[in-house]
């Protein structure tokens, strides 16, 4: 009984996670410039990995610890990589979209 219930909850989490992957990559294709693409894809795929791995862990309960280790590692490192990449591409000279209204990085440098 409880096994079956956990199975269905895990399937729900896995479905949510894969839909987050789909939305993140749609944002990757549709967004107009690099920073918007990064905003759309990095957050959603990180949350997608978290939800997917927790869902798989609820299906296979004996794997849960190792899956949580992988999820913890991905959640820890994905923002670091994205932040380093955004900063490096700003310094590399990639322009913002022409309809962007605020550039906090440049404002901070002028102070």
């Amino acid at each position: 009984m409880i096994e079956e219930l956990l199975d269905y909850i895990g399937m729900f989490f896995v479905l949510i996670g894969s839909l987050f992957f789909l939305f993140g990559t749609i944002g990757l294709v549709r967004m107009p410039d690099l920073y918007n693409r990064m905003q759309a894809s990095t957050k959603t795929t990180t949350l997608g990995v978290l939800s997917f791995l927790v869902g798989i862990g609820l299906m296979e309960l004996s794997w849960l610890i190792k899956l949580l280790i992988i999820a913890f590692f991905v959640v820890l490192t994905a923002p670091i990589g994205a932040s380093a990449l955004a900063r490096a591409s700003y310094k590399h000279g990639i322009k913002l979209w022409k309809k962007s209204v605020v550039d906090k990085y440049k404002e901070g440098k002028n102070d």
Partner: protein
Amino acid sequence: MNIYFFYLIISILAISIALGLYRLVKGPSVSDRAVALDALTNVTTALLVLIAVLSARFIYLDVALVYAILAFIGVVAIARYLEGGL
């Protein structure tokens, strides 16, 4: 476990990988390609875990863990190269 559910999940992940590959091929700058690679890496990690479940091998989870670590190192190396520090 319902096998049709896994067919659905694999289809969604395949569409995601196709969209990411579109940006990876077309992306105007190096950073666009790096962002697309980062997103594809997360999708691939989930797919490796799914393969581990479908073939019922606990040891395949190590592949996903090592893949996630190497992908992080790759993105940071690309960022350092663009910044001019490498």
